[in-house]
Structures are given as C-alpha cells and as structure tokens.
C-alpha cells in the first residue's frame, strides 16, 4: 500500500508542474519581478529569516525562526503561505499575503514535531521592494487548543526558546490551550 503522504507529494508536484508548463515561456523576458528574496532582521540576525518567492505563476512567503530552549536543545519554527489569498506584483514590488490557514512547522532537537499544519487563525503578510532591496514580513497566529498540536514538554521548549527572540511574542495560557504567536521581520535583502 503506497504511503498517502508520498501520493499527495507526487500529486502536488504533477499539478504544480502543469502550472509551470502552462506558464513556461515568459519567465525571463518581461520586466515583472521574479526570484527568491531573503532578509533577516538586523537585531536578530541568524535567528529569523523571511523569504518571498515568485517564479512565473507560483508565489510563496515564509518565516523561519530558530532558537534554543533552557536545555540548549534547538527549536525551529517555520510558517508558510501554502495557499496565498492576496498577491500583487509589479516590476519593482511583490507582496504575498495569506489571511488565514497559514501552515506551521515545528522542529525540536532536530525532530519534526509538526510538518506544515494549516492553522485557521494564522496570517502572514510579506512585501519586498527591489529598488530599496528591503522586505517586511508580519506574522500573527492564534488558536484555542495548543495541546492538540504539541505535548507539554514541547510547549515548554517552544516557550523557553521563543522568550529569547526579540521580535517573537509567544504566549500560552496556564492550561496549555489558548495560544498566540506574532513576529515581524524587516531587513535588507541578503543575496
């Protein structure tokens, strides 16, 4: 019996390949913005990276945060617009937004705890200006039951790790149910 996740991945690649095949010709011949642009906040360098990506007819934005918990175990969070809801693109500017259902990934100590799970009340907005070579991203997520996603130990790890990041606000109630996470990431394009 083939693994359903594998089938989903292959299916997604085939359909996205169709998008690429349809959009094949014009990718490099117009002045409309194309590329993969990454930036990091100057005061939290190497711990937070934001990306915006456009390739022809495909778009995404991403935020990655990493830190260590109290026992020096690595904790990495990532957020992606797998289904953008608003996009604008010109020759100089690109903006990608997903107003809800941004997906979240959590890695603790190198192990995948969550692999890009869509979160209903989670939004991500990213914009980039080629002429200013600067990008800005903001992320805001909340939920009613974190215990369905993470164990108490994992919640403790994420809480202690995110407390050391300047731009990240992560809050969980005492019952480990209601939670919120927000961050902002502004910086200069890092080639």
């Amino acid at each position: 019996m083939p693994d359903t996740k594998f089938i989903r991945i292959v299916g997604a690649l085939l359909v996205v390949g169709l998008v690429a095949a349809r959009a094949e010709a014009a990718l490099v011949t117009t002045p409309l913005i194309e590329g993969d642009f990454i930036w990091e906040p100057g005061d939290d360098f190497d711990h937070e990276a934001c990306t915006i990506f456009v390739d022809g007819a495909s778009f995404s934005a991403r935020v990655a945060i990493d830190s260590v918990d109290d026992s020096m175990q690595e904790v990495a969070l990532s957020f992606e617009t797998q289904q953008p809801t608003n996009i604008t693109r010109g020759t100089d500017k690109l903006a990608v937004r997903q107003g809800q259902w941004v997906s979240m990934g959590v890695q603790i100590g190198g192990a995948d705890i969550l692999v890009q799970v869509p979160i209903e009340k989670c939004s991500l907005s990213a914009s980039f200006g080629l002429s200013k070579s600067r990008g800005v991203t903001s992320l805001s997520c909340k939920g009613d039951d974190l215990s369905q996603l993470l164990s108490p130990t994992n919640i403790a790890s994420v809480t202690s790790a995110m407390a050391t990041r300047k731009h990240v606000k992560f809050k969980v109630d005492s019952a480990r149910k209601k939670w919120s996470l927000s961050t902002a990431c502004a910086g200069v394009f890092t080639p």
Binding site: K5, R8, I9, G11, A12, L13, V15, V16, G17, L18, V19, A20, A21, R22, A23, E24, A25, A26, L27, V28, T29, T30, P31, L32, E34, F53, D55, G56, A57, S58, F59, S60, R62, E80, T81, Q82, Q83, P84, T85, N86, I87, T88, R89, G90, Q100, W101, S103, V115, Q116, V117, P118, E120
Partner: protein, 187 residues
C-alpha cells in the same frame, strides 16, 4: 532554449512544491475551473487554475478563415500581477505582458510571446458556479509578428466569433484584440 526554460521552471517550481509538501487541507479554493462562452461555445474556451501557490488563467479561440484554414489564438497569465482568493471566489489578473500564441493553418508564427500592452482579467465564484476570463491587447507593429497573409487569415477567422474583436490598421501595424469568455462552470 525553450526546453531549458521549461526545465528550469519545472525545477524551481518543483522546489516550491517540495516546500509545500503537506498538501492543502483548508477550505480555501483549489482546483481547475473551465468555462466556455455561451455565444461561441467550443470556439471560445477558458480556464482558471489554482493549486496551492500556483495561479494561471488562460484561454483560446479558434475558427477558420475564408479558405477554411484553421486559425487559433491562445492567451495566458504566465506572470500574474494580482490575485485574490477565498473559499468561494478566485480572481487572477495580469495587467501587462500577458502571453499570446497564434496558429494559422500549419504555421505557428509565435508561441507564448509576452505582449507589453496585453492584459488578462479573470474571476470565478464557486457559489454562483460562474466565471469569466477576458483578454485585452494592443500593439503598434503587427507586421513584425505576422505576415500580411496571416493577418488576413486571422481577421477573417476572428470575424466569425461573436465575443472576439480583432482590429488592424490599414498599414497592418496598429492592432487590438479583445476576447470575452464568460459562462457557467463546465463539468
């Protein structure tokens, strides 16, 4: 050269696909939606496609010239400039540099050529089960793209379609093309 472009695009988009490996499970609109103009039926068809972070609106019109030679024009948003999507509605627009392909008989004068003053606007509503894709293009030198005979063929063929307007100046230079493809979602 074109093969390289396709391969590069597929590699890049496959990378993007690998990033998006979990697959969509939200109620946000996903899928391929096909329409046909009620007036021109199978001679004027269009599609909107949304797959995760990939968005395309495209369409095609086909007819025959006075010598019964087939003529077709296809268009696409290879680089969309604005998009909105929700659980019910999808809109994809490219305000400039939409691409055109033209076939006249056995000849293909150009394929997926970005045209500066060429826009595609499209929208779909799942609840209304209706959608539309419209094309509006113009240019200053059609004779750089098509021969005089091909221009005549395209004019004759497009004149037979109700929702297509193709105009060319007497000098065969200035031109404009508009297509409206609007209708109910095709099964």
């Amino acid at each position: 050269m074109q093969f390289l472009r396709i391969a590069t695009a597929l590699c890049l988009v496959t990378f993007f696909g690998a990033r998006a490996q979990a697959g969509p499970t939200s109620p946000l609109l996903e899928g391929e939606f096909d329409f046909a103009s009620a007036e021109d039926l199978s001679h004027n068809v269009c599609t909107m496609l949304v797959d995760g972070g990939g968005f395309v609106a495209d369409g095609g019109v086909n007819s025959v010239d006075d010598a019964f030679q087939s003529v077709s024009i296809n268009y696409s948003t290879a680089q969309p400039t604005s998009i909105t999507r929700s659980s019910d509605k999808l809109a994809i627009k490219q305000s400039e540099f939409a691409t055109l392909s033209v076939t006249v008989g056995a000849a293909t004068p150009f394929t997926n050529l970005p045209i500066e003053k060429c826009s595609v606007t499209s929208s779909f509503s799942k609840s209304k089960v209706k959608g539309s894709v419209s094309l509006g293009c113009k240019g200053d030198n059609l004779s750089d793209l098509l021969s005089a005979d091909q221009i005549a063929s395209v004019q004759q063929a497009m004149a037979k379609l109700k929702r297509v307007k193709f105009k060319v100046s007497a000098a065969l230079t200035k031109w404009s093309l508009s297509v409206v493809c609007a209708g109910e979602l095709q099964p």
